[in-house]
Symmetry: C2
Amino acid sequence: MAERPYHHGDLRAALLTAAEEELTEKGVEGFSLRSVAKRAGVSHAAPAHHFGDTVGLLTALATEGFTRFQDTLDAREVGATDDRDRAVRAGLGYLEFALARPALFRLIFSSARPDFAAPDLLAAANRAYDHLVGLVATLGGGETDVIALWATSHGIADLSAGQKMRTLQGKSPEEREAMIRAVLSRCLPASDG
Amino acid sequence: MAERPYHHGDLRAALLTAAEEELTEKGVEGFSLRSVAKRAGVSHAAPAHHFGDTVGLLTALATEGFTRFQDTLDAREVGATDDRDRAVRAGLGYLEFALARPALFRLIFSSARPDFAAPDLLAAANRAYDHLVGLVATLGGGETDVIALWATSHGIADLSAGQKMRTLQGKSPEEREAMIRAVLSRCLPASDG
DNA sequence: CGGCTAATCCTGACACTGTAAAGATGCGAG
DNA sequence: CTCGCATCTTTACAGTGTCAGGATTAGCCG
């Protein structure tokens, strides 16, 4: 029964992981700051010093979430056969992240709770967007192609995260990937050859 | 200063319109049942009799929202030059609804608060989905085409509702529509001609 | 090594929220 | 006219976010 010391040591990190648990279990709309503090074994006002208020905590969590999102895409792009395949894999990574962490996905894309004007979060979001633009530019695409690839990837991911697209849920992983590859291919700039 | 009678008369409808106001101003995540009751000029426990709890009210609101969503699409489809144009117009209506009522859009597509297993809401959602399937079927498309059109339409709408797609925000309405038409066209079954 | 400052964390308080229970009101059927 | 019951209010309780003030201790300077 080691008495917990008055000073936690690394409460900021502990709160972030506790916050992610809370988010996963309760969703963005059921997220409670006091509950997060309980998970971390700390008083209900402890988070204030590190994150200000609930918005601050969710903003920090969203920032971390965005980099994890990008990491998932990057990991998927590894081993691409060509630039087109690479863009398609990015879209598959988009979906993979949405299915693996639906609550975090909603936090960074479909919530109004984080402060998306916060510099860190803004930078993380822009990083992901710039990466997408790079993928399309490599294929010789323009603004329209960026919108096409992003919107379609996002649509599939968001609808899947919310369990809205039952057509895809019914399919086997192989069939699913094949269909999505077909859909995403249409969004890429026309391949001349 | 007419004293409000003890019995409202049509409180259920009044609560629904008050709830939509609340949703528009505070968003799904700031939605408060007590605040809705205040808007309707009624005690905080009055909604319980008509809707049970907050979930019940949001479920009813989502059901209404879904039919309004479909109405917006239908209105846009009127005057289509051909079946392809009709499908594209449906996608434009999808976006129109998301921009006109972003909070309601999020409620029906990106929230976990309503009870999507409730028969009425389920029916309203299925009605919209069936309509989409019909549009694609008319063009001779299959499952893949349904996914393509839906995901892309939804992606554009959701990202726009959340102010994430600044590329589109910058454009004029005419440019915007032209780009979206181009993107949506790629999602339709190949036109043999 | 001693002491001071400031960061860290806790306690207590307030207003607000959702929901349940029980009482008040009045519509409408008989 | 009266009584039942749907409707609405009042009251109460647990939970939430946030602020103010107090307790603890780490780190630094002498």
